[in-house]
């Protein structure tokens, strides 16, 4: 039994924001209310006075790299990184080696997660075999082995006919289709956002249009098929505007952005910092503003990290040759809270984009503090300051553009399935 006393409980799904106690028994939340009494002997007591108590955070866009790229990250280190960042559940992308396009890979990941993982792991399967964009993966089998969505993340399905069939097929299993929207011809050879900065630096640009045209295509395909479409890592004003319009028309669409797209811009690339290289690329001030507007008006449902660990040697090279991607699990919470601190969105909205919204999209019985739900809980000190130090990351990846940043918001306690995994109180 665990009793969390006197915390400010924020549970957006139940519209709760109040000083309450929470009782946990047998891995589930059994009571939530004012001044819950208890017998001291049989209980772990957590005094959460002055802290916020929220549903365990959920990151629906993580690259765990295992199997195949264990030198970058493993299920063990990736979930430890998630835990350090306050996440109790993560969904992992299928671009492993071998690709998660069949049951044996899904089984392997789930088995690893049970044995070595410290948070809940939900695999995401491939849309096409080998992410090759040629023929559909066995999506039915993937579903029955436990995937919560399908995507060819990192490699968009360029063939519109195949994407249509993938979406139709996935609807049979009520699986969301996550789309990495990028027209590979428009983005070919590009290494950063196309604009004045790329012109000055002499780097090949990726126009925002590469994202926008594919978002437009996938919205049209979602309308055609009725499939559940989720747009990954939205980075442009154009995409936000299209998704907003689609939602108004009643299209079955959701989307996410990542903390870097509402925190920093293409200017980070000046000086050729390869930790500012990711796909989609960092965009302009105007795009950043549109992302914030989209978060505020609800167009953007989810904040996900696109945690993409790489080995140092894959980043300490010429900008052209550096791999795309940054780690995000251990900086996502303070960067998201910054939006709340700055009044862009409320704390409750910020928490919903990190909890109940991704849970609903993926169909997980998570993301709330309702009585009877899994006891996944994160306790946060909203105002405590700290400095980002990549050398202290639990992730194997140290590729973060936020190194040295002073941020606010510390994870104090993390409870996963009723087990206290972290406790600094």
């Amino acid at each position: 039994m665990i009793l969390i006393k006197n915390g400010r409980v924020i549970d957006p799904a139940n519209k709760i924001d109040a000083i309450l106690d929470i009782l946990i028994e047998n891995g589930r939340i059994t009571e939530i209310g004012k001044a819950i009494s208890h017998q001291p002997s049989a209980i772990s007591l957590i005094d959460a006075s002055g802290k916020i108590v929220v549903p365990g955070l959920i990151d629906m866009h993580v690259h765990l790299r295992e199997p195949g790229y264990e030198y970058k990250e493993t299920v063990k280190t990736g979930t430890e990184s998630a835990l350090a960042g306050g996440f109790t559940s993560i969904a992992c992308m299928p671009n492993t080696k071998p690709v998660n396009d069949n049951q044996s890979v899904t089984d392997f990941i789930l088995d690893k997660a049970r044995k070595e993982g410290v948070v809940n792991v939900y695999p995401i399967g491939a849309i096409t075999k080998g992410l090759k964009g040629e023929e559909l993966a066995e999506i039915g089998e993937l579903k029955s082995s436990g995937v919560v969505a399908i995507t060819d993340d990192g490699k968009p399905v360029m063939n519109s006919e195949l994407m249509r069939r993938g979406m139709e097929y996935a609807s049979m299993f009520d699986l969301p289709v996550i789309s990495h929207c990028e027209d590979l011809k428009l983005s070919e050879g590009g290494v950063m956002n196309e604009g004045f900065v790329s012109t000055e630096l002499g780097l090949k640009g990726i126009p925002d249009t590469a994202e926008v045209v594919m978002v437009a295509r996938d919205i049209a395909l979602a309308e055609l098929t009725g499939a559940k479409l989720h747009i990954a890592h939205v980075s442009t004003r154009g995409a936000v505007s299209l998704i907003k319009g689609a939602k108004l028309r009643g299209v079955n669409i959701t989307c996410e952005t990542a903390p870097h797209y509402f925190t920093i811009t293409e200017k980070e690339v000046i000086g050729y910092d390869t930790n500012a290289k990711m796909n989609p690329p960092l965009r302009t001030e105007d795009d950043l503003k549109a992302i914030k507007e989209g978060l505020r008006d609800g167009t953007i449902d989810v904040i996900a990290t696109d945690h993409a660990p790489h080995e140092v040697s894959e980043k300490e090279v010429e900008f052209d040759r550096a791999l795309f991607g940054i780690v995000g699990l251990e900086t996502a919470l303070p960067l998201t809270l910054k939006l709340a601190h700055n009044g862009v969105i409320s704390i409750s909205e910020a928490i919903s984009k990190l909890t109940i919204n991704p849970a609903r999209i993926l169909g997980l019985n998570k993301g709330t503090l309702s009585v009877g739900s899994d006891a996944d809980i994160t306790i946060i000190d909203l105002d405590k300051e700290w400095q980002v130090d990549v050398t202290k990351f639990k992730s194997k990846g140290k590729n973060s553009p936020f190194q040295g940043w002073h941020v606010k918001g510390v994870v104090e306690v993390v409870i996963v399935g009723g087990h206290i995994k972290t406790n600094y109180l």
Partner: protein, 308 residues
Amino acid sequence: MINKLKSKDLLGIKDLSPEEILLILDTAESLKEISTRDIKKVPALRGKTIINLFYEPSTRTRTSFEIAGKRLSADVVNISVSSSSVAKGETLKDTAKNLEAMNPDAVVIRHSSSGAPYFIAKILECSVINAGDGAHEHPTQALLDLLTIKERKKELKGLKVSIIGDITHSRVARSNIYAMKKMGMDVTVAGPSTLIPVDIKKMGVKVFTDLSKAIEGADVIIMLRIQLERQERGLFPSIREYSRLFGLNVEKLKNAKEDVMIMHPGPINRGVEISADVADGPYSLILDQVTNGVAVRMAILHLLTGGV
């Protein structure tokens, strides 16, 4: 008047002040005479080691740096790395660290990746000189272009310069834009709209897609080399059409000033971007540029490694 450069490196014109540019040009003017002597050598950099690290094929620039170093009595070593071996071989970081272990005084680097000189300058304690990085900068080319113009026109301020061709992929264009804007010159760029980079106007230049308008009243025209592979990537339909629209010949020159100077960073595509009668004609300063290249590189090496 200043007598040295702020940085240990020459990575781009963007980082230089107008005073530094003038210092380099003045130094080059005074060193130029050495190349006309019977014995073309002074002991200024005796005992200094300069490494030419070239990741792209280059005849002119590499030779120019080598001659510049040798005329100042430095020991110059050339390392050419073919791009195919880079894929399998050691990283640029490891190469740089290995070179550093041999205690050179300067590394001159040419690389196909924009920013590569910045990358190694962070690793190396010795001077790093950018001899051209991707589509980013080619600072010594811009400096030798300025020297060539200054010799002829005396005053740089107010001159009208037109840069014609593939601006998108041109490091020469970028370095020249920075350099010329810093010296108060009026810069126009022109080329096919597919080869004009996004937001180039924000660099303070005028943009045209019509050659005759672009060179109207020009004091200086810099023609850029067009590469055939751009056509293969669908950026323009054919060399024939490119040449018709953007090739410079005597007929089109009528729009420019009577004493217009024609320059080209080389190597030229005769009959493509520049006709033979222009390249070899009285307006052409293409070979003066090459001569001044040695002088400018002597100046850079002297200012960065000469221990003034």
